[in-house]
């Protein structure tokens, strides 16, 4: 491991893998956290929501303990449809195919974390072209993911017009991705070596058009008192262990793009956008503004960069590596042990696990109608929380 050291709690807390506690500058032995079921108070009821319900896009069971109207405690169970993905023993190339499918909607982040961990484990030199490629992928993915969260925030508010407008923008971004990488969700981008990354003409025009339209819509949403009222004061949380947009919405300048050596964002003049409202509205603002900063990076790379693909064919090295990248939901950490070109042990620390805990705590004291807005504001993906990697 070039960047990560085994030490006691250096830097900010990121989360837990099966075997380690992850900090921004070190990895430590695991801490056992036992989740106690909430006490049932007389007169209270537990409202069961999910796992099979029309309101959620993934299978998740949420138990809301309530004395009526107000939510006293929330227990999210992302393991109802638990997936087990066996990666140990597979070649890096074969493992990669499964890694990019852990959370298909954010496959690019998983690809980046995995590839940078491989690079770290085998002590290979940093490939600037690959970094640019991964950053381009991840920022396009971030735009799409944030658009998706904003779209989902419009839905429970009954804002049909902006909901569909954002959905259209999301689709246009996906088509841009497809035009550049040959797959709408980046699948197979690094598996099959190609001569070079082909960036079709007119992409910058398309991205700038999307950005302009989004700017207008984003302004309009902020002007809508009805929309803002649903988000302001909803799901307030301020904890030092927050990650991603949730942390940045609570005033913390936490971003793997500036505090992880895995990918170099310095050359793009990137600075995280910070809000201090701590609520769903602050998370909405952070995501909206990050779309602009991601567009800025994407346009720079498309205009001036030289993105390049990774080549996972014929790797036979041995070593242990770790990498941390900023996925749209927050820090995504990958620990990887390679034995003669095969995965010996792999562990991920996914941001949705942290965001689920943040959601549970932020929901206490809120009322039922706040539920969907708050849930969507964290951009939680059950696919990366309800999964066991072997």
């Amino acid at each position: 491991m070039q960047y990560y050291k085994t030490a006691r709690g250096n830097g900010r807390y990121i989360g837990q893998t099966r075997s380690y506690t992850i900090y921004s500058d070190s990895i430590d032995s695991p801490v056992k956290v036992e989740k106690k079921p909430a006490d049932i108070i007389p007169g209270e009821l537990v409202f069961n929501y999910g796992p099979s319900t029309g309101g959620m896009i993934e299978s998740v069971r949420i138990a809301l303990s309530t004395p009526g109207e107000m939510i006293r405690s929330v227990a999210v169970d992302p393991t109802y449809k638990l997936r087990t993905i066996k990666l140990s023993g597979l070649s890096l190339k074969d493992a990669f195919i499964l890694v990019e499918r852990i959370n298909g909607y954010h496959s690019s982040s998983y690809q980046a974390a995995f590839l940078k961990a491989v690079e770290d484990a085998l002590l290979t030199e940093q490939n600037t072209g690959l970094d640019e490629e991964l950053i381009l992928q991840m920022e396009l993915e971030r735009i799409r993911s944030h658009l998706n969260v904003l779209e989902r925030l419009c839905e429970p508010a009954g804002f049909g017009v902006p909901y569909h407008q954002i959905a259209q923008m999301r689709e246009e971004v996906t088509r841009v991705i497809s035009s550049i990488f040959g797959h709408r969700y980046f699948f197979g981008v690094h598996n099959t070596p190609k001569p070079s990354v082909r960036i079709p003409s007119g992409i910058v025009t398309r991205t700038k058009d999307i950005e302009t339209r989004f700017a207008l819509l984003f302004e309009s949403l902020q002007d809508s008192k009805i929309f803002v009222n649903r988000l302001q004061g909803n799901g307030k949380i301020e904890k030092v262990w927050l990650v991603g947009p949730a942390a940045r919405a609570a005033g913390y300048k936490y971003d793997a793009r500036i505090d992880s050596p895995s990918l170099d964002y310095g050359r793009y003049g990137f600075e995280p956008y910070i809000e201090d409202g701590k609520d769903a509205f602050a998370r909405f603002l952070v995501r909206g503004n990050e779309i602009f900063s991601s567009f800025a990076i994407v346009n720079q790379i498309i205009s001036n960069g030289r993105p390049d693909q990774a080549n996972l064919m014929n790797i036979h090295g041995t070593g242990i590596g770790a990498a941390r990248v900023e996925s749209p939901q927050g820090d995504l950490f990958c620990y990887l042990s390679i034995n003669n070109g095969s995965v010996e042990r792999i562990e991920f620390c996914s941001p949705s696990v942290s965001n689920i805990i943040a959601f549970e705590q932020s929901m206490q004291g809120n009322i039922f109608t706040d539920f969907h807005f708050n849930w969507e504001s964290f951009g939680i993906w059950i696919s990366e929380a309800g999964v066991e990697i072997e």
């Binding site: 007169g43 209270e44 004395p67 009526g68 109207e69 405690s73 206490q364």
Partner: protein
Amino acid sequence: MNPVYFSLLITAVAMPVGIWWRKASYALVIAGSLEMAVFTLLGSGNLAYPLAYFSLIASIAWILISIFSMTYSAGYGKWLTPLFAMTVFGMMVILESSDYVTFIIGWEIMSIPAYASIGLNKEHWNAAYVFMVFSEISTVFLVIGAIFAVQETGTMDFRFQSLTSDLPLLLIAIGCMTKMGITPFMISEWLPIAHGNAPANDSALFSATMTLMGVFGIARIMLLSPSSIYLGFFMLAVGVLTVFFAALFAYVSENMKMLGGFSTIENNGSILAAIGLYVALGEGVLKTYLLAVIMIFALAHSVAKTGLFIGIGTTRKENFSEVDSSKNSFLTLGWFLVTMSLSGLLPTIGGLGTWMLLESFFMGAYQYGLIGIASVVAGSMIALAEGLASASMMKVLSFSQVHGHPKGSMKNSEGYVLLSTGVILILLFVLANFLIQPQFISGLPSVLVYNGFTIQSKFSAADFGLISPLYVLVIIIFFALAAYLVFDRRKGKLRIVPRWNGGVDFDQYYTSFAYASNIRLMLKGILRTRIRDGNRQMSVVDVFWFAMQSFASGYRRFARQFAYRVMNSSITWYMIYMIVAFMLVLILAFVI
């Protein structure tokens, strides 16, 4: 001898009989009540319209409660029955009294056995002490009021006579209001505490008829007193404030009997508001109409409240969370009718009472000036509180019946009594034309509503509003039957499927506590809703009761400190204290 006095005699016999023969004692109370009702109807009692109605109302309630008590009181030892009979006897004395002394004696006969029956049936005596403290406060005001009333005559004649000052009415009203659970500028939780801790038959007796004695006491003196705009406004303000807060606290109450207690206060507040408007107004049609409102509302309250506590008694529980209701169609129908009446819905006497009450306040607007403004504000507040009252009754109906499991220990006869109470509420509605002064009865023959079938609300020669009870009932029955015949084609087509709960096998029932939490949160400024740290349990504070308790404990602390620091066995200070106290008494006596 006045034949109504036989009812007193029969009920007096019921007291000793009750020690050994429970059912016989209740049968004697029924006989005494029936005798009083019949002879009151025949006009043989001491009272004429409108006061005679109180005897009739109380008799109906006593009969129903006594029938229910025959099975209900089986597990409450030998003292509950004689104490019950004695309380009824005290109330009969109040109703038949023609002077202040007999009235106050009846008041005490009514209160003392009630105190004993609360205390004997609870592990803790707190509720009984609370009851007795407030009972004696009410007696003190009654005695002072009576002294002022007698002083006005300039003789030692204690009989009820016309008064020239409104002071006796003010003092006696405060005394009676205390008994009704109302105290000036606040509602007091004493009544729900006391009524909530008594056996259900006693709770029914206290809520339905003991508070009725308070209304009777005020009405008795009100009819002898001159109009007084200030006193009227005072009663109106206290009544309206009481209605609102009592409805609010009833809605958030988890103890069924305490909910009933708050509902009683809410009803009494409405009656007091009507009395306030009556006292404030000069002679006129509206004033006469208000008398009918007071009687009809008191009737509706007493009979329906009897039913409410009988219903609660059938559950054999105190809190909604403990209820395992008996699945009994008669009981459910009875519950439905009783709660409908207490919600102010037609076709019940409660619906008529609420309609008449609101009409009187909206007609009050045409008095213009301060009375007009006060009437509109009061009417709006009462209408708001009626909404909350309906929600409370919906809570009672839902969580005592719909969500229950058939495990209750109710006797079938209790279901019949509750159903009978519900039917009486409908019958009283249909027969209300005969209970109201003829000047408010008319008809609309042009639309086939014949003369005698319509009740008018009016403040002048022309009518303000109309209602035809029998026609309302017929129309409701007609449309209900039509809907049933047209749409009830379930046979062979009804498909019952398991409940879908997110795809998991998980049963959870909505709770009564959760039902009321919307108001706990929306009105947290008034209810002082608190979420405790740690387990974050939600609770509300009755700010008035809290303030009263704080004042009492603060005074006790002050008195203790005063005793320790100043009067610490010093004979000099004792002497100074006695001289000052003596002089103060002399000054007060001189001033009064």
